[in-house]
């Protein structure tokens, strides 16, 4: 009885905690969710430091279009306000009214007509929050409505709603097939413009009928706005004020009013606001069964220890990616008289990634940030991938890695049969949804024919599944190019200029399982003129692309090597490196700690790059943001329960000398570092 009561108590407590969690406002069809755990008491973030990060866009070379947390669809002014609001809110919860003891969420959802990012903030003081958001995120003329049991406001494509203990900020990109006509092509015909007005009205009506979310005042405002636009457009049409030469419309001077572009933009703004309210209202009133809390994988992640986490529904993301790819192909086919686009609506996109999720749990400890990356796979993928990573790389492979300036090392040990079958499944599915449907069977038949000549055993055992890749140095390579100079009358002179590129010195090794078969393959490549033998077991590719960086292919001692390391080729090919030039015991041990290991020495990489650029410019280059954020990184495969692959990513950051940055600040710097690597 005592245990029973305890059980009921635990259940009730869990249910109440769930009910209080703002994740209940995240739809279950969300593809990405980022969770940030409570800020440390007494710690202050540095808003200025965060707002300067490249990933926030305003200070990047191509900033205006970089999509971070949905800000790419905003104009410059609201984007700046959003950045300032987010950094201000996160750095000083007391002023912004945010509850620093509860989770903050950012998530993304996408469907046929919209794509949006939203933030959910826990609130301690509604009045403080209301004052702060109105003053910092919106302009003074923004109208705050309180018609649906919560406050709501939309302006400049930013929509916010807040109740007594939480707030949602929404950034949506709007798309509706009815109004997505190509105005560029149809600009000249007045009938088309009139049709588009009708389409816009129909969409507005559709949304208005679907929901009762619009307050009367907002409805009135929107209707009046639309009527004004329509009246204005019709007036312009009647006066025949559209320029006959449409090419003039593309110039900046003429694109100003009056022009259908501007009319379309204003109509889209109206539609955008309407739809944003629709989404906001849905999120504010979401039922638990429709929320992300109904997803077991997400729920179990939330019960774990972390300071920040990201989660994404990989199955959903892949389905969406396939759908988009097929949509593009169908559009293309439709344009050239192929299959009709409507057929796409009837297609289903089941994928092998169904029920697959990727999550990262981030924790901070002094200068080391650890991210446990988890890939949970569904039943189909589980059968394919269980036992795929196994064993360790051979010690002899590590002897050929020069260590005096080693920057990166990747070691992989896999079951080749499982690895290739997994690769084959991914390839087959990609082929299926590549728009090459009619060729799919042909491709697969080619593979089947290949298997007549090569039996399964040979195919799976040519390589033994041990792979090592290392970047052992960076080398400056000077090349010339042709450019032009002009005299004062713009007569052209051809000149030859020099430029310095940085080329990595690398080695890639693969263990060979079937020596005889590999010799045959190399023999075929040599006979067909693809490879040229230069020494015993040493080959070079014919027509090498870069004469300044010769690549060598070596087949010896059960290993196939690809390298551009001249020192290795000239002096150490027989036995590999020894003594001080060999990798340290510690590094060798690390290389064999798990079937999957990747390590990168950021400090050494940047120092070497600086030496090269310094030689060229004569002065040390300025440190990049990435260099300031990351010192080194280590990725290790870990054992997980059935259906879960775990990879631990540890990033060492430079010491926080003034001890001002808390975990959230560090997290943003880490994200920024990753963003820079991807860019």
């Amino acid at each position: 009885m005592k245990h029973y009561l305890l059980y009921v108590f635990v259940l009730l407590t869990a249910a109440l905690l769930n009910a209080q969690d703002n994740a209940l406002h995240i739809p279950k069809s969300s593809s990405y969710v980022v969770t940030i755990r409570p800020l440390h008491n007494g710690e202050q973030n540095s808003a200025e430091s965060i707002s300067r990060l490249e990933m926030f866009g305003s200070n990047t070379d191509y900033g205006e279009d970089i999509s971070v947390f949905g800000s790419s669809s905003l104009d410059e002014s609201p984007r700046t306000r959003l950045t300032n609001y987010l950094t201000g809110t996160l750095s000083n919860p007391k002023i912004s009214g945010i509850d620093s003891t509860r989770n903050i969420y950012a998530f993304h959802e996408e469907d046929d007509t919209s794509s949006y990012w939203a933030y959910i903030f826990p609130i301690t003081n509604e009045q403080t929050f209301s004052t702060y958001i109105k003053a910092n995120l919106f302009t003074a003329d923004a109208h705050v409505s309180n018609d649906h049991g919560y406050h709501s406001v939309t302006r400049d494509r930013i929509t916010a709603g807040w109740a007594s203990n939480y707030a949602i900020v929404l950034l949506a990109d709007y798309y509706h097939p009815l109004v997505a006509t190509n105005w560029f092509e149809e600009l000249n015909t007045q009938q088309n413009i009139a049709d588009s007005i009708a389409a816009v009205e129909a969409v507005l009506e559709e949304y208005t009928e679907q929901s009762t979310l619009l307050s009367d005042s907002v409805k009135k405002e929107r209707t009046a706005e639309l009527e004004r636009e329509n009246a204005r457009l019709l007036d312009e049409l009647n006066k025949g004020e559209f320029p006959e030469d449409t090419s003039l419309l593309y110039t900046q001077s003429v694109i100003e009013e009056p022009s259908p572009w501007n009319v379309q933009n204003r109509q889209n703004d109206t539609l955008h606001d309407t739809q944003s309210f629709y989404i906001l209202n849905r999120l504010m009133n979401l039922e638990e069964s429709s929320s992300i809390y109904s997803n077991k994988n997400f729920r179990s992640l939330q019960s774990e220890k972390f300071e920040a986490a990201y989660w994404y529904n990989y199955g959903l993301v892949m389905q969406e990616a396939y759908r988009k790819r097929m949509e593009n192909n169908f559009s293309y086919a439709y344009m050239y008289g192929g299959q009709e686009k409507e057929t796409l609506d009837t297609m289903l996109f089941p994928t092998m990634w169904e029920d697959s999720y990727i999550a990262g749990l981030v924790t901070f400890n002094d200068t080391v940030t650890t991210m446990e990356h988890r890939i949970s796979v569904g039943e189909e993928m589980s059968q394919l991938t269980t036992g795929m990573y196994k064993g360790k790389v051979d010690r002899k492979m590590l002897r050929y890695v020069k260590s005096d300036n080693l920057m990166a090392l990747v070691c992989l040990s896999v079951d080749m049969e499982k690895f290739m079958k997994f690769g084959g499944h991914v390839y087959k599915e990609n082929l299926k949804y590549s728009g090459m449907g009619m060729f799919e069977q042909t491709y697969l038949a080619m593979w089947d024919i290949l298997r007549v000549f090569i039996d399964d055993k040979t195919m799976y055992n040519i390589l033994d599944g041990k792979f090592v890749f290392a970047v052992t140095d960076l080398k400056p390579v000077v090349s010339t190019y042709v450019s032009y100079e002009y005299d004062s009358d713009f007569n052209r002179q051809e000149v030859t200029k020099e430029k310095t590129d940085i080329v990595p010195e690398f080695i890639f090794m693969a263990g060979v399982g079937r020596k005889k078969d590999m010799e045959n393959i190399i023999g075929i490549l040599e006979r067909t003129g693809i490879l040229k033998k230069v020494n015993d077991n040493v080959y070079v590719p014919v027509n090498a692309s870069n004469p300044n960086s010769q690549m060598y292919i070596v087949f010896q001692k059960g290993m196939l090597m690809f390298t551009n390391n001249e020192d290795l080729m000239n002096n150490h090919l027989n036995k590999g490196y020894s003594g001080n030039q060999r990798m340290t015991r510690k590094t060798r041990k690390m290389a064999r700690r798990s079937p999957l290991m990747a390590w990168w020495d950021g400090r050494r990489t940047f120092n070497t790059m600086h030496k090269i650029t310094k030689d060229e410019k004569g002065e040390p280059a300025e440190k990049s943001e990435l260099e300031k954020s990351v010192t080194s990184g280590l990725i290790l495969g870990k054992k997980g329960r059935k259906g879960v692959h775990r990879v631990e990513v540890s990033v060492t950051m430079p010491p926080d000398e003034d001890n001002k940055h808390n975990s959230l600040n560090r997290f943003f710097h880490l994200l920024n570092g990753l963003f820079l690597i991807m860019r």
Partner: protein, 200 residues
């Protein structure tokens, strides 16, 4: 880069250069593949054939003479040069090349009515719609375009009064106008190739 000479009677010479020399090492590698970053990479043979096709198409156009093409596969420099009798024939010639390649889906609809010359006014127009096209550019596309430039040189018999583009420079003899653009700026609409040159 486009280098166009326009005489008082509307005849002139069109000289177009594509210089990819600075990227030749990358191109050597790329040319071994079928596609990159979602774009199809044509083979050297295909490009050579298209250049010949362009030359043959232009030679058939009324008012177009002395068509010369050059290819430098070591430095990846390609040029096209021809003479035209009138600006209208220049426009028609460019459009004919676009139409010739329509069947292969390689046509450029924007290459239409790009040049106008009447009285003492020369117009460089553009049908490129940056507002729509920039949405299609990936960050990688932008990175590549940001390192590329596009130059326009227009040469006249008479002295130039002014150019509507503030970036334009007038030569020391006063008869030529040169404007250099960053390709990313052109692609995103931050700059426009459209400008009017007024002769004295």
């Amino acid at each position: 880069m486009e280098d166009i000479t326009i005489h008082n009677n509307g005849s002139g010479e069109f000289f177009y250069t594509v210089n990819l020399s600075q990227s030749k090492a990358n191109l050597d590698i790329l040319m071994q593949d079928d596609s990159s970053e979602g774009y199809r990479i044509p083979s050297r043979q295909e490009i050579d054939a298209d250049i010949v096709r362009t030359k043959l198409t232009l030679e058939k156009q009324p008012g177009i003479t002395a068509v010369v093409t050059t290819t430098d596969w070591v430095n990846y420099i390609f040029t096209l040069r021809f003479k035209f009798n009138t600006i209208q024939q220049l426009n028609a010639a460019v459009e004919s090349v676009s139409a010739e390649f329509a069947i292969d889906h390689k046509s450029i609809p924007e290459a239409s009515g790009n040049f106008a010359f009447a009285g003492k006014t020369f117009n460089r127009r553009s049908n490129y719609n940056a507002i729509m096209e920039r949405e299609k550019l990936t960050p990688k596309d932008k990175e590549i375009l940001s390192k590329a430039s596009y130059s326009c040189i227009y040469r006249f018999d008479q002295a130039v009064g002014n150019s509507s583009n503030p970036k334009s420079k007038i030569s020391s003899n006063g008869k030529s106008v040169m404007t250099r653009f960053n390709m990313l700026n052109l692609a995103t609409g931050a700059e426009t190739i459209v400008h009017t040159i007024q002769l004295k």
